[in-house]
């Protein structure tokens, strides 16, 4: 359309005026202005074309209540294993499903924030990671209440996981997808060299509690000539935190109780007690990633999704040197997601149906087989395909069984709105300051409790 416009303009002028550069003053000016006119026309046309396009873009958003949607959009991050499931759903229902994947959570979150802040662009079904979900909870109105839209599934999932999907005002924001069940990854070769047992059952028996874990670390340090046992003490606090259940940084009314909460104090004390066996390598730092190959530490806490990262950081040369044992003190959790339906979705009922389908027992087993996210659906956790799963890189450890047992032991926990911010920006920096010797224990605790108040305010 824009193009034909330009052509029409050009035709108005006889061709002679274009090239009459030498026909005297007037002719010259004419030619210049003609060319400018054409340029101006082209620019105008371009502007109209662009605004026309923009207008077209807006036309897409026509609400159509009551009818069946032609297409549903699903937003996920990382690898959730939905590719085949979505195809099956298309076949079953005749609704087209578009899967929008974002690799990194760090890129995913700003997108979601933009969708919510501007009120448009969000997918019909949106995967929410634990930290994001908690952060979004205080503004629960951004999300559709799934309670009236789907059948009651509360008894079908891990109870603590199901509870976390609810907002303070009682609305059900998310249906559980996967968990970051916790285990310990350890280097058999380094254990052997330091005179520790290497069989995973014996290793698990070494640390039925955290004291045992610390003792094993000291023994390793002695046997290896002073080498560090674990990567960092923040990994320990992550492991301990979820084990006791109860309130963490917030009480049930979402008041900040970081300085008095027994669960937090316990995590703090356990973590700080491990400073003498820590490599002081901050998770995700180059020291940390490099440490896997260099053997700077012999054990680390592995949520299920971490296995892939350990594999990648350690490289093919270390295949078979790693193994997986259970976590001290029973179960643990780090990460995991839910599926939610934004309030701006045009077809909340159909979107909820799709979320329901993607989180049912059969789908969770399929997703696990495809990409490995751990099921939260109780039936899926009992499924043979899941429980019999072993990991080749980790000396064929029965990871399905280990991780399955680990999540089953978790007690329901209340996570306040800024749980993630307090954990990442108050607790962990204070622990690191203590670990690296920048602050003594009392001063680090003071730093943590003070920062928890500012970080946790909402």
């Amino acid at each position: 359309m824009g193009h034909s416009h330009t052509l029409a303009w050009r035709d108005e002028h006889p061709p002679t005026t274009h090239i009459s550069l030498t026909t005297g003053k007037r002719g010259q000016r004419m030619s210049v202005t003609t060319r400018r006119t054409r340029l101006a026309a082209a620019a105008l046309a371009a502007i109209t074309a662009v605004s026309g396009l923009a207008a077209c873009g807006n036309d897409d958003d026509k609400p159509a209540a009551g009818e069946k949607p032609a297409k549903l959009v699903v937003d996920t991050f990382g690898e959730m294993g939905y590719d085949e499931l979505v195809k099956q759903y298309e076949k079953d229902t005749g609704i087209k499903v578009e899967l929008r994947k974002t690799a990194q959570l760090a890129e995913y979150r700003p997108k979601l924030v933009r969708y919510l802040a501007t009120g448009k662009g969000a997918a019909d079904v949106t995967a929410l990671e634990e930290g994001i979900l908690n952060e979004f909870k205080p503004n629960a109105r951004n999300w559709a209440d799934l309670n009236p839209l789907v059948a009651d599934h509360s008894k079908e999932f891990l109870p603590w996981k199901w509870e976390l999907g609810k907002a303070p005002d009682g609305r059900l924001i998310g249906l559980p997808t996967d968990v970051g069940s916790l285990a310990v990854c350890y280097r058999k070769d380094l254990f052997q060299a330091a005179g520790l047992p290497t069989e995973r059952d014996q290793v698990s028996a070494l640390w039925s509690d955290w004291k045992g874990f610390h003792d094993a670390g000291l023994k390793y340090k002695q046997g290896s000539g002073g080498k560090a046992f674990i990567d960092s003490i923040t990994a320990v606090s992550n492991g301990v935190m979820f084990q006791g259940g109860g309130d963490l940084f917030y009480d049930k009314e979402d008041n900040i109780i970081a300085d008095t909460s027994p669960a937090v104090k316990n995590a703090w004390d356990t973590a700080t007690s491990m400073a003498d066996i820590s490599a002081k390598a901050q998770t995700w730092s180059p020291e940390w990633s490099g440490g896997f190959k260099q053997g700077t530490f012999a054990a680390t806490f592995c949520p299920s999704w971490m296995l892939g990262i350990v594999t990648e950081n350690s490289g093919a040369a270390n295949k078979g040197k790693w193994d997986v044992a259970s976590v001290p003190g029973g179960g643990g959790n780090w990460g995991g997601s839910w599926l939610a339906v934004p309030a701006q979705a045009k077809y909340p009922k159909e979107a909820a149906k799709l979320a329901e389908y993607l989180t049912n027992a059969k789908s969770q087993v399929e997703a696990f087989k495809a990409k490995g996210p751990l099921p939260t659906n109780l039936e899926a956790l009992k499924n043979e395909a899941f429980t019999s799963y072993t990991n080749e890189y980790f000396s064929n450890a029965p990871t399905g069984k280990i991780f399955g047992e680990s999540v089953a032991k978790i007690q329901p926990t209340h996570l306040g709105p800024k749980h993630q911010a307090i954990k990442e920006n108050a607790l962990e920096p204070a622990l690191r300051a203590f670990e690296s010797g920048q602050a003594d224990k009392a001063k680090a605790w003071e730093q943590f409790t003070k920062d928890a108040k500012t970080q946790g305010a909402f």
């Binding site: 210049v32 202005t33 919510l116 730092s285 180059p286 490099g290 260099q294 911010a421 920006n425 300051a433």
Partner: protein, 323 residues
């Protein structure tokens, strides 16, 4: 061509005589419109883009800074509360001190070195001038993220090159991101590496614009190279130097990527915020924390005001010292 076009007088608006063919009449009208409005059309892109990406965000940020603004929730007007909060915010002052510390560590040595190098390159005796000029500018072509990542590796605690070198001379490894001075030093070294060449070239261009006869006259009067530098080069370089200082100030106050990548992407900048800059603090408050977007906007405006004040101060300082 376009020059002659803009200076051309408006076409004489002859009254359209009825016997003129309509096509010609229309052409004339178009010409008139063209001469009158096309200039606006040509400069429009700048103003449209500036309006959309410069002016609007500024005004909007100012508006946000007067609110208690949750990015995905409610906002309520609170007047200047965000600004008064700034004064008692320990971490804001911490970020301010860090920013100025890194700024001083990077800008002062950098400009002195740039001045020295520019003077060296300006020597008539130097061979392969173009090569040296190119070489000195190269670091600026490298993307800032690449610089920060490579320097981050060099400054690593366990496997870093600098700690290895220190080890060779018997110095204990330094935990570069664990202390204030060491992290500031590491970050300013990135900035220096990247921007010294750029400033050198600008200063060099300024030096070359100084008339040669001044030097010749000075030489005849018996002034040595040192005297010539102080009495001719520096005073004549004043406008260029002011420009360079202001640019460095703006850059220094907005320092973000280097410290962020040095902290492995942690917006706090060290476990005790040892090297969190103002720009990082703004990001933390305005973007990382969803519910303090209004306060983040206030931090952004504070940075703007600080840049204005510091630039003015530098401007006056450079002007006076060069007099």
């Amino acid at each position: 061509m376009s020059l002659s076009a803009t200076t051309a007088p408006p076409s004489p608006a002859a009254p359209p005589s009825p016997d003129l063919p309509s096509r010609q009449r229309r052409g004339r009208l178009l010409n008139r419109l063209d001469v009158k409005y096309s200039p606006y059309l040509y400069i429009a892109p700048f103003f449209l883009i500036f309006g959309a990406f410069g002016l609007y965000p500024m005004v909007r940020t100012a508006w946000m800074s007067l609110h208690d603004w949750d990015m995905i929730g409610e906002h309520s007007f609170i007047g200047f509360d965000n600004y008064t909060r700034l004064f008692s915010d320990e971490y804001f002052w911490n970020a301010l001190v860090n920013t100025f510390g890194i700024f001083a560590l990077s800008t002062i040595p950098q400009l002195l070195l740039a001045l020295f190098l520019a003077n060296l390159l300006n020597r008539t005796l130097l061979r392969a001038k173009t090569f040296f000029r190119m070489a000195i500018f190269m670091p600026n072509v490298v993307s800032v993220a690449a610089v920060a990542i490579v320097f981050g590796m060099l400054f690593q605690r366990e496997f870093g090159l600098f700690n290895w070198l220190l080890g060779l001379v018997g110095v204990d490894p330094v935990d570069w991101d664990g202390q204030r001075w060491s992290s500031w030093f590491a970050i300013s070294s990135m900035v220096n590496w990247r921007w010294t060449g750029y400033n050198t070239l600008i200063l060099l261009a300024g030096m070359q614009a100084i008339p040669k006869d001044l030097y010749e006259a000075a030489e005849i009067d018996g002034a040595g190279p040192w005297r010539q530098f102080w009495q001719i080069t520096l005073p004549m370089l004043k406008p260029t130097f002011t420009f360079v200082v202001i640019l460095s100030t703006i850059g220094g106050m907005q320092l973000f990527t280097e410290p962020l990548l040095f902290a492995n992407g942690n917006i706090l900048g060290g476990s005790q915020r040892e090297f969190q800059t103002l720009a990082m603090y703004m990001y933390e408050m305005g973007i990382s924390n969803l519910n303090t977007a209004g306060y983040g906007a206030a931090v952004a405006w504070a940075i703007f005001m600080i840049i204005v004040v510091v630039s003015l101060f530098n401007f006056l300082l450079v002007r006076r010292s060069a007099k």
